[in-house]
Assembly symmetry: C2
Homo-oligomer: 362 residues x 2
């Protein structure tokens, strides 16, 4: 078996989780679901599979220290920082440079830091199989999630669900990708769901490091050229400067758009392990335990004549009277009251705070 490295992408703030998520305490460092932070759960979920010494984290300078504290078993030199977020392609390319130096034949498992899986055993089974396919085939591999609703917030992956004889892994439940589809409208999402051969694009990728770097070279050559400048600088005094300069001019582009959609052969495994990207407070409510009134409560709260609401009380006490379908999040310095189903709009609050330069609340 190959050396397996995880690359955990942990650069975002998760503005939709305001007021809990802040620049200094972003979503992945919070205990949004469960008792450990999302990134701690992400690491411990794969710890049977990948040695913490083989776990790389890509983040930014603001978060680096907190991540190091939360993940004492991950070597500090494995925490790579980007000077600015430029979407997933540069992030994955940068991590690839470091992985290749350790083992040019290694398999990289790329995972977002802030997803959850209900059935972790099944998740690891899928990752093991994906790792083997990625290593043996030398192709790009991804995990698609079996859709459970006509979600318009995700991209979709259409699979070849008949055995055309050209896919040696078909019998193991590994499919060829037919096409990647952008986030659909509501109508199209329903069609996708009914068709049965569309999966949600989860943003999880498995490939050999040589494979992905070659694909970046083929499909985004100008980015590859910039990455090579960084590669030369690794271990030298001018590394920080070169990265800084490169990231100023590099295009912000996703690995999906830049590579996956253009690659000739991509394999996809079906994920049936209760995945959630925990993308909004609405989603947190959806996956939370609820009492007989449909309320989900964290902390000290008294809900009077209240239904289908989620309350996070932080260090305060929260009381509600006669309300329903609300999301209420109270932190030391801020309170959010949001209608269920509209928590995507929480980013508008963060935009407002940014415009008004209320930096203490960002």
């Amino acid at each position: 078996m190959p050396n397996v490295y995880a690359v955990i992408m942990a650069g975002g703030v998760g503005t939709r989780f305001w007021p809990r998520s802040r620049e200094k305490s972003p979503k992945q460092l919070l205990e949004i679901v469960g008792k450990k932070s999302m990134i701690q759960n992400t690491v411990s979920r794969i710890s049977d599979l990948i040695d913490p010494k083989n776990i790389m984290i890509v983040t930014n300078k603001i978060q680096k220290l907190s991540i190091a504290k939360q993940l004492p078993n991950v070597p500090e030199e494995n925490i790579i920082t980007e000077p600015i977020g430029r979407n997933t392609a540069p992030c994955i390319g940068l991590a690839g440079l470091f992985v290749r130096r350790m083992d040019p034949e290694a398999v990289m498992v790329v995972l977002p830091a802030d997803h959850i899986m209900h059935d972790e055993e099944e998740f690891r089974r899928v990752l093991r199989l994906a790792t083997w396919v990625a290593y043996e085939s030398g192709k790009l591999v991804t995990v698609g999630i079996q859709p459970t609703r006509p979600e318009t917030g995700y991209g979709y992956i259409q699979v070849v669900d008949e055995d055309d004889g050209k896919n040696p892994y078909f019998k193991k439940g590994v499919y060829k990708v037919k096409t990647f589809a952008e986030k659909p409208n509501a109508e199209t999402a329903k069609v996708f769901l009914q068709s049965g051969d569309f999966l949600w694009n989860s943003g999880m990728f498995i490939w050999r490091v040589d494979t992905i770097l070659k694909e970046i070279e083929t499909h985004i050559p100008e980015m590859y050229a910039e990455l090579m400048k960084i590669d030369e600088a690794i271990g030298h005094k001018n590394y920080d400067n070169i990265v800084e300069t490169t990231y100023k001019i590099i295009r912000g582009i996703s690995i999906d758009y830049g590579v996956m959609e253009k690659a000739k052969e991509v394999y996809v495994l079906k994920g049936n392990f209760g995945w959630s990207d925990v993308g909004s407070w609405d989603e947190v409510y959806r996956i939370s335990g609820k009492d007989e009134n449909g309320n989900s409560i964290t902390g000290q709260a008294f809900l009077h004549n209240t239904k289908n609401s989620m309350v996070y009380a932080g260090s305060k006490i929260v009381a509600t009277v006669g309300v329903q379908d609300l999301i209420i999040i109270a932190t030391d310095d801020a309170v959010l009251v949001c209608k269920q189903g509209e928590s995507q709009e929480v980013k508008e609050v963060v935009d407002y705070l940014r415009r008004k330069q209320k930096n203490d609340y960002l």
Copy 2:
């Protein structure tokens, strides 16, 4: 003209104003409406009429110091404390004992600490007239509020609105009370409103101190007997003990039920001065200024797609998304989210906190 004393009743907590009102910072000591506290406004509203040296405050031991701080012009010895709240009759009787010692012919103007009047000039005109009638007639005088809606939360006063030749003050707009009515149901409240001869019972009273003490003696003789024990103890070492003992056994009874409803002759003046007892957060919203979306905001707040809501942000920032008809009150340690129209139920929250002995939040 007689000596006029104000007796301001300031013993309540105003539990319906939780989380702003607490045992140590009750409603009347808060800036609920305007920039001064309710009791400060109550005192300054009558300062043209009554010298601060003639203002008595009846409160409890917890509030005494804060009241003294808020009202530096009121002599500290004028702040009388009750060991326990026993409704308005003992409170008024106790204050009467002190007023009688200063001037047995004085007129007492009894006012709640936590009401507001929009037209303060008109309010003072009514009080001046009431004072004169009370002094000259030696009768009980009250102020009824011209109703503007079929309110079920107040008692009503029916007036004799025709000149029967037995009321020397009729032409001045001073009426005889026909009857006092308890809080009506919704149906009855509509009838009261339409009839035109029903007024809201405002809880403001004007009378000579000798008149009210005599009326208490007549209608609640056992309370009068207890008050006399206190009267004897005034100025003596055992005063505190006697008051304590007396209040343990004294009946908690309102002046309305104990005296007003039983008295033979009561005069009432019509109040048309934009009165509010500011009885709930709903009422605060009703009298607040609102923006074009019907929102009333105090403090730092960002209301996104939000209508007809009131937000008090305290020292925090409050953000709302996609909600309407809410009352949101955030303090340092607590948050209330209440549906408009249900703020009477806020007392349920306080009851809960009391049951759970969460004394820090009371």
